[in-house]
């Protein structure tokens, strides 16, 4: 070791405040995740749906531009091209950029998010607890809440990369096709009578993304700090988002139990709250009926978040316990 270099320059500047520690924690977690091929494979797979929506819309616009203004006659059959386009648009309503588009997009992307989080939770969070690396963090001038916030931010980035960011890109793709889509909130209500457009829809997309980010990041950080390893995490994730979903469906749809039993389906709860952001009215959401009230779902999600934060507070304090 170069002992002669011992007197390296003394730090004269100001240290950043502890809150800034959140960023390097997040960056460190993501850096470890981005090194893995599995992440990129899952992410590429997750983007397929986005590409389907993106190019589906482009294809539809191209088709419209190719249809002649005059009626088309094939043999004795004569038809109006506008009517064909309307029928196609009605059939592919999911590509028209309305609240339905984003509801479907978030629902399908959600599946990919769940798979991604189950597989990456151990890398993002669990390894810190497995290797007891928290000692490094907590010896620095920051609290355990900064650590938790940093990890939640890292999970949030992953969630948003798969959901909110592509959804916002889709939104602007539609806006680039018709400026009224961006400026007129009643863009769809005038025509099909469904949902807002423009900035309210953009706010709804961001709101849905925020709900997903906050809830899933807190839940994943808590679950990964508890279970640490990938396989147990997959089992827990499957139980929460698959088994409980099936159970809720059996209880409410099959056995006609109270709709509140659907509250055990966390993805359904997320959709209930998120769809409200997208401008859906209760009862008109693309979800199986009957449904519990939106506020009930919000209470369940909020309660779970609080429980997870309480657990994380204890868990990060438990680093103190001599094993």
């Amino acid at each position: 070791m170069s002992s002669s270099l011992l007197h390296y320059r003394e730090w004269q500047g100001q240290y950043h405040r502890p809150i800034w520690a959140v960023l390097p924690i997040c960056r460190g977690a993501l850096a470890m995740l981005l090194r893995r091929r599995l992440f990129w494979a899952l992410y590429a797979f997750g983007l397929l749906l986005f590409l389907m929506f993106f190019f589906g819309t482009v294809l539809l616009d191209w088709l419209e531009s190719q249809v002649p203004a005059a009626p088309v006659q094939v043999g004795n059959f004569k038809t109006d091209p506008d009517r064909i386009v309307k029928l196609v648009r009605q059939g592919l309503r999911v590509l028209n950029g309305s609240q339905d588009t984003f509801a479907v997009f978030f629902t399908y992307q959600g599946t990919m998010v769940m798979v991604m989080l189950a597989l990456t939770g151990a890398v993002l969070v669990g390894n810190d607890f497995t290797h007891r690396s928290l000692a490094f963090y907590l010896a620095k001038p920051m609290s355990r809440w900064h650590y938790i916030a940093g990890k939640c931010l890292a999970v949030g980035v992953v969630v948003n990369l798969l959901t909110t960011v592509p959804a916002v890109l889709l939104f602007f793709q539609h806006a680039s096709g018709d400026i009224n889509y961006l400026t007129d909130p009643d863009f769809f209500r005038d025509g099909s009578g469904r949902g807002p457009a423009g900035l309210p829809l953009l706010a709804g997309i961001l709101g849905f993304g925020l709900v997903l980010t906050v809830f899933l990041s807190i839940l994943l950080v808590a679950a990964a700090s508890w279970l640490r390893r990938t396989m147990p995490l997959i089992m827990l994730w499957s139980t929460l988002f698959l088994f409980f979903r099936l159970l809720a469906a059996i209880l409410v749809d099959g056995l006609r139990y109270d709709p509140r039993w659907r509250l055990i389906d966390l993805w359904n709860d997320l959709c209930l709250v998120g769809f409200t952001f997208l401008g859906f009215e209760e009862g008109a959401m693309p979800l199986p009926l009957p449904q519990p009230q939106m506020f009930e779902a919000a209470i369940v999600l909020g309660g779970l978040c609080l429980s997870c934060l309480t657990y994380l507070s204890l868990r990060t304090r438990a680093v103190e316990v001599v094993r």
Binding site: S3, H16, A21, N127, A135, L138, A139, K140, P141
Partner: protein
């Protein structure tokens, strides 16, 4: 475990370290000056004041009062003695249930204190996917440095610990010694006055150990306070003669090893002596009040059991001159850290 345990005198915050050893029926408390080239200042770098810490019904640290100043202090004790708890309390990762821990006058868990301490934990597996450089830089950012300052200090610190040329490799490919150096680098990144090192010599090859010890000594010379926990007692002796011995959550003794050994009256010091006139020397030695017994070892050696070693050696020198005895061999057998630890923990030698 005999009743050897007593925390250091809680009331003392003078420029000397308080050392106390309660040994069977004897209870001796004595002020022991820091020495061994250790610098002293008026302010304690690390101060434990009547600190207790429980883990549910189990007590981890029991009424510990300890004051450390610049220099190296070895922390030794059996497994479960409370060393890790003490280190974590010092690093601000644990809050005491009773008492207070202060780093440079600041509460140890505060951000201000953490800017003044560097902690090198014992764990060996961490961020296997990261490169050593990236890890140290991340730790520098966590310390509160700006991006450019973090990069600059990372390079300086990696150079300091001798890892600059290997820091781009993934930590997964590091040897244990390289991991120790990287851990040390992240602890040194902000040039803190207090360094808490948990088993820093573990797993390092002999050359690496020598370099590490050199670095630690230089850091101590530069006025830093190092608290080093280690099971490698022989290596620790090369590093410092100032130790804190823990047992059952208490500080059993703290101070220079020689003085702690002096206080162990229940265990006379064993000294191997060889001279040209062993019988004459044995008879003369038995007249000394400090000598408990003399055994003849083989043909040409005596094993002397003596209390109050310092006074004994003075008298031995006088005696040798008076009796015209030629000493051929003089060796203390049980004044090592290992032996003292054994006596204090009641395990014999």
């Amino acid at each position: 475990m005999p009743d050897l345990l007593e925390s250091a005198d809680p009331g003392r915050r003078s420029s000397t370290l308080a050392s106390s050893v309660v040994n069977g029926p004897l209870s001796v408390k004595e002020e022991v000056s820091t020495d061994g080239g250790q610098a002293t200042t008026d302010e304690a770098v690390l101060y434990f004041e009547n600190v207790s810490k429980w883990y549910g019904p189990v007590i981890g640290v029991n009424q510990v009062t300890l004051e450390l100043r610049p220099g190296i202090t070895g922390l030794v004790g059996a497994n479960g003695a409370g060393k890790s708890t003490l280190l974590r309390l010092a690093a601000g990762q644990l809050r005491p249930d009773l008492g207070s821990v202060q780093v440079c006058g600041r509460e140890a868990a505060s951000a201000a204190a953490k800017h003044r301490l560097g902690y090198c934990p014992e764990l060996d597996i961490f961020y296997e996917e990261m490169s050593g450089r990236r890890f140290v830089e991340t730790m520098a950012r966590l310390q509160g440095f700006s991006a450019s300052a973090a990069r600059c200090r990372t390079e300086q610190t990696l150079e300091l610990v001798g890892m600059a040329d290997r820091a781009n490799r993934r930590i997964a490919g590091y040897s244990k010694g390289m991991r120790q150096r990287i851990k040390l680098a992240q602890a040194l990144i902000h040039d803190p006055p207090l360094l808490i090192l948990d088993e820093p010599l573990s797993g390092i090859d002999p050359i690496g150990r020598r370099e590490s010890i050199e670095l630690f000594l230089k850091l101590a010379e530069a006025g830093k306070c190092l608290l080093v926990s280690s099971h490698e007692l022989e290596e620790l002796e090369k590093l410092t003669d100032h130790v804190a011995i823990m047992a059952y959550g208490r500080i059993a003794a703290v101070g220079p090893l020689v003085r702690i050994r002096d206080l162990l009256d229940n265990h006379p010091l064993s000294i191997l002596v060889a001279s040209d006139q062993n019988r004459k020397l044995a008879m003369a030695l038995l007249d000394l009040e400090e000598v408990v017994g003399v055994e003849i070892e083989g043909d040409d050696r005596l094993k002397v059991l003596a209390r109050q070693p310092r006074r004994f050696f003075q008298k031995l020198a006088d005696l040798v001159l008076e009796e015209h005895v030629e000493l051929r061999h003089l060796e203390t057998l049980d004044d090592s850290t290992h032996a003292i630890l054994g006596y204090l923990l009641g395990a014999g030698k």
